[in-house]
Assembly symmetry: C2
Homo-oligomer: 142 residues x 2
């Protein structure tokens, strides 16, 4: 009954945070891994001509930081738990290279029959800007 | 009217693909960037004891490949176009290290007033398994 034990350890209200300064190396390695070399992320001179003024991190990189937070919430739980998906991922403001992002991950709902949890996840900068937000779904698979 | 020109160049039905073999180095660098060192991704011996049998790629890495496809669809268009977000991101099957993933990105809808496009995005392996699917939203910002 490992899975049941794990699911019980994920009540509504459980909350974790992770925090990281998004460095140029993060954005550049992310561009290389994914192949997303949009000028938005890797062309400082181009970005100076836009309303942003400088390079911004990939939204999908912020989803990766959310993934870190979801792993933290299940650390040391028994059984196998996987990321089922994300609903309504939004990037309301730009995350610039050098911004320090705090990810807050809070369980807000549970589907007992399917052994799924739903969490509100937000990424907030040192300026207080929410640069990414989503609902994340974890599923206990055994 | 750069933005209007860009928006006109993104009709319903426009489709691009990108393809990559997801290497161990991709998964390991992604783990380092995001801090998500879940055993699901970096512990082969643990994964042998699960129903998966071996290490799987981060779902958020597949979202990064979707981001590459979204950048490809807007390459060389004028104006500034950003990723507004994703709806209903799902990971229906496991993507293993060594799998070759084809990302198909097809524009399926447009919001003329908001200058947004909606695209169906799928990541499919050489086995034909859909390992990630989502709706992606692009927004022309100028």
């Amino acid at each position: 009954m490992n899975g049941q034990d794990a699911f019980r350890a994920l009540p509504v209200g459980r909350c974790v945070t992770v925090r990281k300064t998004v460095g140029e190396s993060d954005v550049y390695l992310f561009a290389g891994i994914t192949g997303d070399l949009s000028p938005n992320h890797v062309d400082e001179e181009y970005m100076k001509t836009t309303t942003y003024g400088r390079r911004i991190a990939h939204g999908a990189l912020l989803v990766g930081l959310m993934s870190h937070a979801s792993t933290k919430v299940i650390t040391d739980l028994p059984g196998t738990i996987v990321s089922y998906g994300y609903d309504r991922v939004r990037f309301p403001a730009a995350c610039f290279i050098g911004d320090t992002v705090t990810v807050t991950y809070e369980i807000t709902g549970r589907d007992e029959a399917a052994m799924k949890t739903f969490a509100r996840v937000t990424c907030t900068t040192q300026r207080g800007d929410v640069v990414a937000a989503a609902t994340h779904i974890l599923k206990v698979v055994e």
